[in-house]
Amino acid sequence: MPPPAIFITRLPKGKPMPLDDVLLQVKGLRKHFPIRKGILKRSAGAVKAVDGVDLTIRKGETIGLVGESGCGKSTLGRSILRLIEPTDGEILFRSQVLADEAGEAMIDVAQLRPAKMKRLRREMQIIFQDPYSSLDPRMNVGDIVGEPLRIQGTLNRSERHDRVMRLLDAVGLGPDHAKRFPHEFSGGQRQRIGIARALALNPRFIVADEPVSALDVSIQAQVVNLMQDLQAELGLTYLFVAHDLSVVRHISNRVAVMYLGRIVEIGDCEAIFSRPQHPYTEALLSAVPIPDPDSTRQRIRLRGDVPSPSSPPSGCPFHPRCAYATSLCREHVPHLRDAGRAQQASCHRIEELNLSGVS
């Protein structure tokens, strides 16, 4: 690892972030997958996987993105990196690589042409959920970790080798691992290889797409701690996609809750967990297990399934499953608005409801 250019101490949890130092700003991001029917492939509606997301991410923070399966968390993360082409919206990123042309201004990633996009990719990387299919079984570990460097072509062969060795060391693997193949490693070790690959280009922003969901609980802690150490050392910014709320609580400064392609609540981690302002967040939190056999807390069971993202319900997308829904909720779409000190929620009844969180 070269001496880190910036030392950033981890941001204190639960305290409001400074409003400057925005690294990434997503505005009105949409990703609709068209549904095609018949032999003529007529367009018959669209799956609205991400449907108008606004999100601001600041330098050095970890933002946890939670929600149940199919709510569009992964699609959002991939769309930001343009691994999936977004249908609509802006992705503004404060780039250093492209700074000489555009100054300190934010660059709209969604509009970049391929040559510039390739250069920008040095600054944005991804860690995948599945450590098995994310490593090419026919390449050895050294080649896998060095691949981004080879693609970007910034280092020569021997520099690349040195860098790969430092990266392996940084993620807790030895130099002798470089010649081995992925199948010789355990899930946790493979995830470390994936992290080393993501770090190879010295990125500033990393989308971690459920990086620990496929690992044993004991290994999860190791990987999460490794990610936190690397963040402190390298000044990384994470978008941490997960459905495990306790992991999210551990690593995140802020949390965004997604439901049916939209962010329904966003705010400081502790505020969200202790005082949820959206009924969906409350329901999610009630599913967090409490290590106390005498606990009498009632789990909120949501009725029905997640509605189809191709035909979301009218009004508030959550109203068919919400215990507090009124006629207003059925007709009018709520928008994100301030709810408390460092928190926003999209619910019509923020002021009336007194929702319970977890301690």
Binding site: D136, E147, I151
Partner: protein, 301 residues
């Protein structure tokens, strides 16, 4: 590379047949210099002689030395089959990889074209081509190459389709890789094993195909020796000079067998997951030899 060779050498059966295949190619390359007699020199007074010290495999109806003709036929056959294989490999694999990776309309169009090619039996394609080109070595090469082309396109396409969805491809995209880069680095790498298997299974098919066409008189024309063509000539003397059939028949069988077995062993040594493991399964490995599948083509690989 050395690693693969070392793993390959550990497999005794594979090593034996690999060396035999190399020996065939050695004979093919040096055929001009190692034939004991001129394969074209006729001597009608010594026609249809049984094996002797002068003619180890006897002589044919024109008094030509059968051993020399089998040796020269090895060269002809090796040339025809290798060029046909390269033809379908070098055209089929890139097409299949690209349409499989890009997909969409291009994929649909190419697949329908290969379907159309597949509904014609090889022999019919061959007859049409021979009518166009005339019965010759070129005709055989084009006929065999074209007849196997759809199979190579399909196998490369289906392999590329499965690799395309892998996360490591997405990781390469996230690092800024272009699609030709991904095709060369990841797709080709990961489809090499089905391609090698297909090639080595197709090679005996090409040999049998070339011989069949020659046997039917559509391929290599006399006096050029070719195994199938030699069998074709020998069948007329099956009762009076049965020794004529032995040379080409054994050469043909051994070549097909060694190509098949070599491919099978190569496939195992190419897979890093089988590193250090020895797999002994003689019977299933001999199966393709006993049931050559040249005329009945699998619909999907």
């Amino acid at each position: 590379m050395m690693d693969i060779l070392r793993r390959y050498a550990r497999d005794r059966v594979g090593l034996f047949f690999g060396i035999m295949l190399l020996a065939f190619y050695f004979v093919a390359i040096t055929a001009q210099w190692i034939t004991p007699q001129d394969p074209f020199e006729t001597n009608l007074s010594e026609g249809l002689e049984p094996p002797s010290a002068a003619h180890w495999l006897g002589t044919d109806q024109f008094g030509r030395d059968t051993l020399s003709r089998v040796i020269l036929a090895t060269q002809v056959t090796a040339r025809i089959t290798t060029i046909s294989l390269l033809f379908s490999l070098l055209i089929g694999v890139p097409i299949g990889m690209i349409v499989g990776y890009i997909g969409g309309l291009l994929d649909a169009v190419v697949m329908r074209i290969t379907d159309m090619m597949l509904i014609f039996p090889t022999i019919m394609i061959a007859i049409i081509i021979v009518v166009v080109v005339g019965p010759s070595e070129h005709g055989v090469v084009i006929a065999l190459g074209l007849s196997q082309l759809p199979n190579f396109i399909r196998i490369a396409r289906s392999a590329a389709l499965s690799v395309r969805r892998e996360l490591y491809v997405e990781a390469a995209v996230a690092a800024g890789a272009s699609w030709p880069d991904i095709l060369l680095r990841h797709v080709l790498h990961n489809i090499s094993s089905p391609i090698i298997v297909k090639s080595t299974l197709a090679l005996p098919g090409f040999v049998l195909g070339a011989s069949s066409l020659s046997y039917l008189g559509l391929g290599v024309q006399p006096p050029t020796p070719e195994w199938g063509q030699m069998l074709h000539e020998a069948k007329d003397f099956l009762t009076s000079a049965p020794h004529l059939i032995i040379g080409p028949a054994i050469a043909l069988s051994l070549f097909v067998l060694s190509a098949n077995m070599t491919g099978d062993s190569l496939n195992e040594s190419l897979d890093p997951k089988l590193k250090g493991r020895r797999i002994k399964r003689i019977v299933p490995r001999l199966a393709p030899w006993f049931f050559p599948r040249f005329w009945s083509r699998p619909i999907s690989p």
